[in-house]
Symmetry: C2
Subunit: 333 residues, 2 copies
Amino acid sequence: MDSISELRQDIVSGDWVVIATGRAKRPQDFLKSKRKPFNQPKTACPFEAMEKEPLLFYSHDGKNDSENWWVEAIPNKFPAFGKGVCETYEKKGPYKKKEGVGFHEVVVTRDHDRPLATMTEEEIELVIRVFQERYLALQAQPCIEYISIFQNQGASSGASLSHPHAQIIAIPVVPPDIGRSLRGSVTYFQEHNACVHCAVIEYEVSIKERIIYENEQMVVLSPYATKSAFEMRILPKQHNARFETTVLKDRFALADALRNALGKLYKGLDDPDYNFFLHTAPVFGVEEYRHYHWHIEILPKTSIWAGFEIGTGIEISAVTPEAAAAFLRNIIL
Amino acid sequence: MDSISELRQDIVSGDWVVIATGRAKRPQDFLKSKRKPFNQPKTACPFEAMEKEPLLFYSHDGKNDSENWWVEAIPNKFPAFGKGVCETYEKKGPYKKKEGVGFHEVVVTRDHDRPLATMTEEEIELVIRVFQERYLALQAQPCIEYISIFQNQGASSGASLSHPHAQIIAIPVVPPDIGRSLRGSVTYFQEHNACVHCAVIEYEVSIKERIIYENEQMVVLSPYATKSAFEMRILPKQHNARFETTVLKDRFALADALRNALGKLYKGLDDPDYNFFLHTAPVFGVEEYRHYHWHIEILPKTSIWAGFEIGTGIEISAVTPEAAAAFLRNIIL
């Protein structure tokens, strides 16, 4: 059986890319005239006519009630990863590749037009609960080394459907960006005998300049070295490498923090498109990674990373994180 | 005097970002309703009414003729880097920063509507000559460690003006992506006693599967581990770490390769937006970098890097480089 995709390693940087070998588009499909419009009316929304069995669902009151489901996890109809042989590497001339073994799921809420930013704390907690449950189910699968949870909101963020949804991708390698963060946090620990994210939180909470919102368990801040205007990070105040171990109380605190972060963005910048993603340690068993500290990054699409950013890896932010934090802090929901 | 910008170092990854402290926008400027339209009519094009003295110009016949200039380099009106103190680092709490010392220039051709893809080999050679001349002038400036040359073509590529133009940014650090490529090429050299890019060229030219175009000096190919659909790389066949040492004959060969690469993209995919950038060794004197091999990368904007790509650093390509190369190879200009 052919696998859905192939992971190929860049021979110079060592980074991985995914080539959709199994479901590749034809070159002609990339003509401008072939592009599909982004906003689907409810009657044409693929999430409204779901044939597949959901993997997990909750009704509004948190019950496994299939008729009154409000949030569910379903397999992605066009997955980037799927079944395959969990080999190490295959040599291909001077190059290395491996099969794109993994899982690709979608987390969808029932309301066709209602973004996460406008949901209640209780609703967002249910979405986070689905993230956590599916994370725990997928990490137990063979071959999986990392699980990425993310949301693309709006056409310019790269979403292909207007119905709000998040995605979960479980993959057989530790991603390059996560690898670099892990190495950075280990280096800091060796030099300072402390978690780098804990040190950042302590400093930021004391000076308050870049704090956007906080509750007892969570802090929302503009990072000092921000990658784009209005970037936000949500971090648990207590040291924890693993999102999937979050307890009920902290899940509600995270829902409150996420509601405030996305709500301020929605109100302050007129519903901008954004990407958010979770950074957490690789799945248990790969290594220990006790020095890591899970967090969520929210990147509004206020600009496009262009030739300089793509060519150098240096992002330019046209607003200071201090001004962005002051602006967002003062938005009252 | 306040500097135009600040380089801030990410405390975890060690990567640099640029914060436009001196010319920062107000948060309100990011409201959707404030966004400017992309296509400027010729009468409203800022390049048509240039007040500043050009830094360098050539007429169509390659002379320094200011009245009949056809291509020129000018200072960017809204630079991301500028004058400042060339210090090492300044500590700011647990963080590090330095002033955004450098240069930011624009290379513009006279025709308001005529993209590089439709120019003649002689015209493109003049553009490359301006790149090379300005590179040589800027590398002699104090504090400069890297010079990035790139072009953003079309609104979705991040360009803000529709009049075709390229940019040159000279900066006081070696960019993270370049640093990783340099380390990767040194590692390969130590293991194989050969340049990694030379090994790739030799293999690719022998199997032909991913070759799009070649002439005596240059090769245009789809990289095995492509970062996006239809990505192209142009490499000199002869080993050379430094673009700025390119001789006249090779500059014409590069112009021919670039004309074919961009022309095939323009014709085959109906004038898609794209970013192109030059990867060359850091400026002379930083280190030797003899194992590096300069090249140009062209990335058409056929998709948007979204939450998974930004969150992991793993790009997904929906067309195989083999299919992309076959498609582009067969486009006859």
